[in-house]
């Protein structure tokens, strides 16, 4: 823990741990599916990339570093895809964000699907 590279990697890993804990606290505390998705996907991607960079700084040999960069690229590609799939399925299933008064996209969606132009309102 004496060399500056080890210190930098420790700082990266502790920062990433802070981001992970903050995103999980957001998942526990937020009131809605969409806000929970916001907390659990974006902040956690940043935290995971920080932790993986901290691990890559301490790896011996180039193979481990290459694998870690593959994991980072994969997370960067797939985390937004997964969150988009979850949000899309929630909206198509009929869950509206909290506090929505009138949903303008619903008429477009239903016109594209069946021809009915009804506006969905949030259930009280």
């Amino acid at each position: 823990m004496s060399s500056p590279i080890a210190l930098l990697s420790g700082v990266c890993m502790l920062g990433g741990t802070f981001f992970a804990l903050a995103s999980v606290i957001g998942i526990l505390r937020f009131p809605d599916v969409y806000t929970r998705l916001h907390a659990g996907t974006k902040a956690l991607s940043g935290g995971a990339i920080l932790i993986l960079l901290g691990v890559a700084l301490r790896m011996e040999g180039w193979q481990g570093t290459a694998k870690i960069f593959m994991i980072i690229l994969f997370l960067l590609g797939t985390n937004p895809l997964a969150s988009h799939a979850i949000a899309r399925s929630c909206y198509r299933h009929g869950i509206l964000p909290r506090g929505t008064r009138e949903d303008d996209y619903a008429s477009t969606l239903h016109k594209k699907k069946g021809g009915k132009t009804k506006k969905r309102r949030r259930k009280k």
Binding site: L21, S23, R36, A48, I51, A82, H93
Partner: protein
């Protein structure tokens, strides 16, 4: 610092798993499962540093792929009620 990171990530995974168990609706559980999968991917990478064994990185890569496919299948099943439609 490595052990501190491990304990912090384990605490985060436990707290996220609480949302998986007690989530009021199904998409909450899906979101929390996605979060726990990402946390465990990074946890496996830190374990590779802790045990000084680079095999854990391969496991982390395979776990990331499986977690992504898992979340996609769950979201598609939740949207349609069946997988192929």
């Amino acid at each position: 610092m490595i052990s501190l990171t491990l304990w912090g990530l384990l605490m985060a995974a436990l707290l996220g798993f609480w949302r998986v168990v007690a989530g009021p609706t199904v998409p909450d559980r899906i979101v929390a499962a996605d979060t726990v999968g990402t946390i465990f991917t990074t946890l496996l990478a830190v374990l590779a540093l802790f045990f000084e064994n680079p095999v854990f990185l391969d496991i982390a890569l395979a776990f990331a792929v499986l977690s992504f496919a898992d979340v996609l299948i769950m979201a598609k099943y939740f949207e349609h009620g069946e997988l192929y439609k």
